[in-house]
Amino acid sequence: MELPHPVRRRLEDFSRTVFSDPSRTDLTDGDHVKYREHGREVVSSLPLQMSLYFNMWFFPWWWIGEVVMLHLKYSSLPDYYKFILVTVLVVMTVIEAIRLYLGYAGNLQEKVPELAGFWLLSILLQFPLILFQLFNESIIILPLERGVHIVLGLFILTQAVSGFAALREMVRHTESQFHLRQFD
């Protein structure tokens, strides 16, 4: 499954503007020697991969806990929160599935657009949603919900931080490869 082409291009442009190294202008001779080794270097990030792996294992249990808790408190919620919470659950499930797939593909196959898509989904969508679930007291947060949301929130936080570092490394790596290609 590939990302559609216009989406890839947008994400590549975004990555290049945000993550590339502005301080690098002229390369020294030492840099040229270093970059010749680049074809064999691995830029996948281990902390990010570990976080994604454990997140993938934890997600079904988060889902079961959330559904059961929502079922238990459904009758004591006001009508608008019933609709909002069901929507938030569906949206979080779909986004989590897409996010984990993109994170795996981007990190293991060292693809920048996928990894950028994963990072944006984590920061802009999942993180506000999980904060909403944790800190909005009027949706009757049950203790088990607090437990599972805290764990998922910690996962998203570690993925945001390590994803940023991984994305920056990967963008600089691909940039230097582009630079090297002009000498072949």
Partner: protein
């Protein structure tokens, strides 16, 4: 064998996470547990004292979780090498003084903290035994002075 080993890691992670979720759940619903340990007519001070005790116990548990998760995520190589050292101690029947030295490292002191983490990791095994081992260690360490 590799298939069995590779499914142990998520299994262990899920048990640790389940334990953590339950501890957080107890923390947020401790009202009934506190009332269960008090007489039917209790004063507010008794309630506060019991509540504080339970909070302290749960906080210690959360601190131990930090140690356990650090050991889990960093490397099992630390665990393995420390287990090897302890096996040597057991089978070669080292002097008991050496064991007191290992225990004495539990006493506070900034340069010894990292060694202490190693010792904690090496005494522990999986899951509940980690926490039990650490508590036993605390019991033994605090009144003990190292014999040089």
């Amino acid at each position: 064998m590799p298939a069995v080993v590779s499914s142990l890691v998520p299994a262990r992670f899920l048990t640790i996470t389940a334990h953590l979720v339950i501890v957080i759940t107890i923390f947020w619903s401790r009202d009934n547990n506190v009332k269960a340990g008090l007489p039917l007519d209790f004063t507010q001070e008794q309630y506060d004292k019991e509540d504080t005790d339970l909070v302290v116990g749960l906080s210690v548990t959360l601190g131990l979780f930090a140690v356990e998760l650090a050991g889990f995520f960093s490397a099992t190589a630390v665990h393995a090498s420390a287990s090897v050292a302890l096996l040597f101690f057991l089978f070669e029947q080292w002097d008991c003084d050496i064991y007191w030295w290992i225990l004495a490292i539990c006493s506070p002191g900034p340069p010894l903290q990292c060694i202490r983490l190693l010792v904690i990791l090496c005494i522990s095994t999986v899951g509940m035994l980690d926490i039990l081992g650490y508590i036993c260690h605390l019991q033994v360490c605090s009144p003990t002075q190292p014999r040089v």
